[in-house]
Symmetry: C2
Subunit: 459 residues, 2 copies
């Protein structure tokens, strides 16, 4: 990046808000995907107006701009593939408004999901999207990737809570989209076009979110299943009756990784575990729990345990979240995919991955959001071992092919980024892909907004 | 439309599926908006392939194509403003698949909402969007307009249930968008860009819908309020506690129109009525009703009546639906707007419309979905009376200005069509509007898909 551009950038944001030192560049060169790409500079804008001026400059000088929240993305969304400028949103971290009467909030993109949740909860309000990284991921990143989480089976994903946006376009113009009301159908739905567009169409500078009243009570159940098939059938029958807040699944490899951390001892022949949580008012949770218990009793499960105390529920969820770190006992590296299949196809997918693991001689385990058919498939390997890397690549390709065959999709919440860009044509037809590229071309004719993401080549 | 084009159309669909006789053209010239525009021909395609060939022909010959479901739209969406071809979807009326295990349905656009509901209910399934016209409106039209209905306050609108689409593009290419799984974030969200695009971006030929388990029980309450303000405060406090299936509102002019049809006699000083319905499992409805009763008791309401029998509930909802026809006792014509404001602004909006009515000497009454802030404002007039027509226009303009001032939107569920196209620039900034026009230009470069809708000029 040439000096006169850096000078202009410093003029826009102030010299203290521009970083170019090597150690700073390195700090902003990686994310949750385990890749590394060095930016040429990092800018920390303090307002929409500054972002507008930065984009006008980028448009004039044709340099890439890659927006970064917390860098917790799993597919490389915040990495500067082609160099250029990383725009860190850490200063735009204000909750601008919480309108309790109308259950609407207005936030800046750098607000951390977990901080926002806590603030809302203290007011008796609730924002459901709960990605595993909620303690540090930002709402802007959540919107850019359309983040989900365990509670999506009942409450939906980020898309379902974004009412409107303020964005800066590639050339620096500022526009508003959507509404701050519960409904709105005036003009095209640009809001939801921007949700999940991974920073490739515009820069999100303000977010209007729909809120819900806080469910004050919850109850957690752990269910040990005799087989994957039994687990899936249970999920199907359960969802025909009620919508729990979460229906999480772990296969037996996953279970073996956290067995010692669980508050209950498991039968030896446990093939899979389900974690089911219901929430709502106290009386509603009481009733849902009674219904759920009756339902589970009618099944021939290995074990059903209700976490009677809040502490036990906490241990269960801690064990669930400990899965990812525990996996490194198997191998030093992990490739984690978040494929989705119709719920009824979960047994076929899980059985398939078990066979794949054997065939390619790599540990593969699955867990995830069974209620949504959103299964996290984790391929464990040593990346320094060339053969294991090749085997892992083969597993990945076979997995994606199978998912498409099962009428599924390659990503439920992580997005495409650069890590899955090469597989897009397996899911989307040439005409669909062409249309998406044309949309990209319309919003970002110079290809300066997060180039190299979603689409493989950037022409 | 020249003869050789008609000949080619007949070759595509068969001679029996093309209509050009005057009386047929007239039958397809009007809709729920009370306007009339004659098409040059009507075609009844029997498959996506036929629609693809029709669009290739339209693209080559540059004639307008306007898709029509049941013609129940309120803003002219299905009317051929610029002549050309009306494409009636009545033959594409098959429910292609109901996947009970995964709670997903695949339908053609001509399926009638009410028929679909009945079929689903018999299987213990549920599709929430319930526009007032559900007995005859089509799912294709619902998707094109992003239809809502009373149950949106709990269950959301059409957008929230469309997982994926098959569409035919302006030049005849067929593409699929979205997924048939609960989640999916691969590529841009073209699905939701098409939802609510009013037939201006592509032709919807197949719809993948998310379903829910059927709530088996419900309970309906009628609440008489001392003032609009009391009604609105009640709605605010109620929604902080629970999400009823519906929270419908009627102002006192509306109440006076149906007073005799209600199963309960009303206190004389009733300023507004709320109809509140809760639904769910039997036990859940019992508990929600108990909570609601306790909540209502804590308010100083004029009257609270629970419809103890299914029959009473039915009468209440029939009275609510009788509002529109009953209104013609006031004047022979009606202009009905479906504006939305933040819920807390409802009193200001309703008070404002009362003043407007007085100032312009026209009966104006309001009712609608209080839980969503989606208020139907009905201006009664005699269109043959020039002065009343002018006054009604003035009321409409003043209403729209006020709605924007209150951070609202001009339409919650009816769409823009041609009747509101001229007001779009009041809600959207020039840059937002320009971007939407560019999106239109990208998808429909020849402006042959429903020209004259959403945007005022079609260049």
């Amino acid at each position: 990046m040439e000096q006169y551009i850096l000078t202009e950038l410093a003029e826009i944001v102030g010299a203290g808000q521009l970083a170019t030192a090597d150690e700073e560049l390195v700090s902003y060169s990686y994310d949750g995907s385990g890749q590394e790409f060095l930016p040429e500079a990092i800018v920390f804008p303090g307002s929409t107006q500054e972002i507008s001026r930065i984009m006008a400059l980028a448009y004039r000088e044709k340099f890439p701009v890659v927006v970064r929240g917390a860098g917790s993305g799993m597919t490389g969304g915040s990495l500067p593939l082609k160099g250029g400028l990383v725009m860190a949103m850490s200063r735009l971290n204000r909750i601008l408004e919480i309108d309790q009467d109308n259950q609407v909030a207005v936030v800046e993109p750098g607000v951390i999901n977990g901080d926002f949740q806590k603030k809302l909860n203290s007011l008796g309000l609730f924002y459901p999207p709960d990605p595993a990284s909620l303690a540090f991921c930002t709402l802007g990143g959540n919107v850019a990737e359309c983040a989900g989480g365990p509670s999506a089976v009942k409450y939906g994903v980020t898309r379902d809570y974004v009412l409107g946006l303020e964005v800066v376009l590639a050339d620096g113009r500022i526009i508003e989209t959507g509404v701050r009301t519960a409904k709105g159908v005036v003009g095209y739905d640009l809001t939801r076009l921007f949700v999940g567009s991974e920073g490739t169409l515009a820069i999100i500078t303000r977010i209007i979110l729909k809120l819900l009243p806080l469910p004050v009570a919850s109850a957690t159940f752990m269910v040990c299943c005799r087989s994957i098939l039994q687990a899936t059938r249970l999920v199907r029958d359960l969802l025909a009756l009620q919508r729990p807040r979460t229906v999480e699944f772990m296969d037996n490899t996953a279970v073996s990784l956290i067995r010692e951390r669980l508050p209950f001892s498991l039968p030896d022949n446990t093939a899979a575990i389900l974690l089911i949580e219901v929430d709502g008012s106290k009386i509603s949770v009481k009733n849902q729990s009674a219904l759920l218990t009756e339902f589970l009793d009618s099944y021939d499960m290995l074990l059903v345990k209700r976490a009677e105390k809040q502490a036990d529920a906490k241990i269960l969820w801690q064990a669930r979240r400990a899965l990812s770190p525990a996996a490194f006992a198997l191998r030093p590296d992990k490739i984690s995919e978040d494929v989705v299949v119709p719920r009824s196809k979960i047994p076929e997918l899980v059985t398939f991955t078990e066979k794949l693991a054997k065939k390619h001689n790599l540990p593969v385990f699955t867990f995830g959001h069974a209620g949504d058919g959103n299964i996290h498939v984790n391929i464990m390997l040593d990346k320094k071992n060339k053969d294991e890397l090749d085997q892992a690549k083969a597993v990945r390709i076979a997995l994606f092919s199978k998912v498409i065959l099962l009428s599924g999709t390659l990503s439920g919440e992580h997005g495409v980024g650069n890590t899955k860009a090469e597989f897009l044509s397996r899911e989307l037809s040439p005409d669909t892909l062409k249309l998406m590229r044309q949309v990209k071309g319309l919003f970002d004719p110079l290809n300066i907004l997060n180039p190299g993401k979603i689409f493989r080549d950037d022409k």
